[in-house]
Symmetry: C2
Subunit: 406 residues, 2 copies
């Protein structure tokens, strides 16, 4: 069983049986493959006697998206398991525990989180998560600070940069987020009703300049170890618990890309409630909940990051230079806002959409949500280098949203 092949359910059970520390005295184990089969096999293995369980995630040597299939490195399983281990040390309780990683099989065996729900689904259903801002700001502050030149030995960091060189998965982001939506590309996918919007994205020079600058940062700035794909589909949640999963896009990049991903996906849900529930005070309440969450995430992140810097900063001149911290945090906010905008745009016209919006059945309502998301996204991209405060992101969202409704 040591050379790579996609596992059968029986093989998965045999491997699980050897993990006696997780599944002690297991007699009969049940196995169910619960992945969508596009990128990975995911086996859910349970011991009905003890109630114990685990997840086995095996990378497949290809990606399937919208019917197409292309080869994809199995090395992403290594990157995912190594990231989870680093994140688990820096942000205990906020990622699934890794029990074992088998490089030959591209297999990660980890904690079963099936008592949680995928946050995107939770938000669509109107769930509220009072711990989320606290937890995700802790996750971001801890993982980003302690893998940056501010918080970790700068020579060790360079060796980590080397370990997390991730060309194939970075290319997916470079194409799908920082190129395709702004040109004619076979990868794009959008409703015919918003062809005018797609055309505008292809011809807006001001937008292209900002996207080129954001793309350059993504390509060159090895600031910290990112999750790399931190949308609400990569978060398992309950009102009491937050778990970040699936860091296979991890690499050393600009911190704002991770923070922006979280905010963008909250804003996509915000956009999905525009028009749809226009007459619904519950929807207005929920929008307010999302805005409050966004504000809390940035505010708490900033406070935690600065506290870590004060207490654990290892770069003498970065800690001592007057004005440097303030400038650093301002640039980080600006990056966050720019990347959030780019993440929103691509979810409307690019290859991969979000269920928050795609699931809206009424075409006119869906179209309005799409236009709202694009209006917010474009305005954040254009704002980014001028931004001074998280309130500007919130204003931009509210303003763009109102403009579409009017």
């Amino acid at each position: 069983m040591s050379t790579y092949h996609p596992l059968t359910e029986n093989e998965a059970i045999e491997i699980a049986r050897s993990l006696t520390s997780v599944l002690p005295n297991a007699e009969t184990l049940h196995c169910r493959e619960i992945g969508d089969g596009n990128l990975n096999l995911v086996f859910h293995i349970t011991d009905p006697n003890s109630g114990r369980s685990l997840i086995m995630k095996q990378a497949l040597p290809y990606a399937k998206v919208v019917g197409e299939s292309w080869p994809l490195t199995l090395d992403r399983a290594r990157i995912e398991s190594e990231s989870l281990i680093i994140e688990g040390k820096l942000a205990p309780e906020l990622v699934p525990q890794v029990y074992k990683y088998d490089p030959e099989l591209a297999l990660t065996i980890m904690e079963d989180l099936s008592d949680h729900v995928i946050m995107r689904r939770g938000l669509i259903e109107g769930g509220r998560y009072p711990r989320f801002a606290e937890d995700i700001s802790t996750f971001l502050a801890q993982t980003l600070f302690f893998t940056s030149d501010l918080g970790m030995n700068q020579q060790e960091k360079k060796l980590r940069v080397r370990d997390f060189i991730n060309p194939e998965l970075c290319k997916i982001t470079e194409d799908l987020i920082f190129d395709d939506p702004y040109t004619v590309s076979a990868n794009n996918s959008y409703d015919a009703a918003i062809e005018d919007e797609a055309e505008e994205l292809r011809t807006d020079g001001e937008l292209h300049l900002e996207v080129a600058l954001l793309r350059e940062k993504f390509l060159t700035q090895a600031q910290a170890l990112l999750h790399g794909d931190l949308h609400t589909g990569s978060i398992f949640i309950t009102p009491e618990s937050t778990k970040v999963i699936d860091p296979e896009f991890a690499y050393f990049g600009p911190m704002g890309f991770d923070i922006g991903a979280v905010l963008a996906n909250l804003l996509l849900n915000y956009a999905s409630r525009d028009g749809w529930h226009a007459s619904d005070s519950e929807a207005a309440d929920y929008r307010e909940y999302l805005i409050t969450t966004i504000r809390d995430i940035w505010t708490q992140f900033e406070a935690k990051f600065l506290k870590l810097w004060d207490e654990h900063g290892i770069d003498r001149i970065a800690s001592a230079a007057p004005g440097y911290k303030e400038l650093y945090m301002k640039r980080l906010l600006q990056d966050t806002i720019g990347f959030a905008g780019a993440k929103m745009v691509r979810r409307i016209v690019g290859l991969a959409h979000v269920a928050d919006i795609d699931r809206i059945e009424d075409a006119a309502v869906r179209e309005r949500a799409q236009r709202t998301a694009l209006a917010i996204g474009k305005s954040l991209i254009k704002l980014n280098r001028r931004a001074e405060s998280i309130e500007q992101l919130i204003d931009a969202a509210v303003t763009a949203s109102s403009a579409v409704k009017a």
Copy 2:
């Protein structure tokens, strides 16, 4: 002879004898060790019959600077030989040809350039090099463009970033250039006469902010494969030929660091002529020659880099976004100016000085040259983020120089 040990002259001859394509039919070979013994052994091997020759450079497992010795990775020999090979492909005739690299012995066998002189020495002696601006601007444009995300496949570039992770040699730069000169450090070394200047460097908050930002770029911005130590002691020259040597500090960093290193070392020579030859019209002429060279290097570099971008740019949105090229070149000039300033400051108060200034015997004259170099360096560092044109660097140099003389 396959495990590492410092070679004797006889062992060097034996190895050279095996390179029959370079030294065909060699009977007697002569060998002389011509290195300074601080970092490397350098064997100059000649065949008196044919007149042919070569250089064998072997890394030593330590560095000796000012009497101190510390361990230093032999991997720098790999980085040096791989860099020379890449540079040789991108800028033919502008680096020594590599005949062979032996990883076990940390040994690079290469073209003998002893018909050239070290450029620092040439400048000190008042030499003029009419090809230099042309050659070094070609070297910089070719090596920086074609190893950046603008000019090379962006996935291959990431693998190259991995190959050139160079923690130990980067740390030397991070400490000696971007930290020590601005604090009390045992690594610093300067004449007691300029204690007031050293004190000011330790307390100038505006300067510290700019140095922290430059340091951050050096730590995080994987823009292109740099030479990493491109001062005039790393250039062999004649009026007809320019050869860049010693890229053991190579890594993927901000382009402006290499360009700034060249300009800084021309400006250090410029500073060395202040006061010393004040009544000497030859010195004034030579200063004018240096300024013209600086202007030509930037102007020609910019034109060549933009031409490469037009003809070979591989990044769609970076090539198409209106205003991006202009902004890119402006930021590159700003980085160049900032790094040039940082390189000058450290050569006056830091660990490693330059002969251009240290060789001045008259203490008062030397002190004035040191103050001039510091005044130029500080003014470039403070200018960097506001700069729009290379003329501002030149003005800053002339103005700072006049202020010290007055």
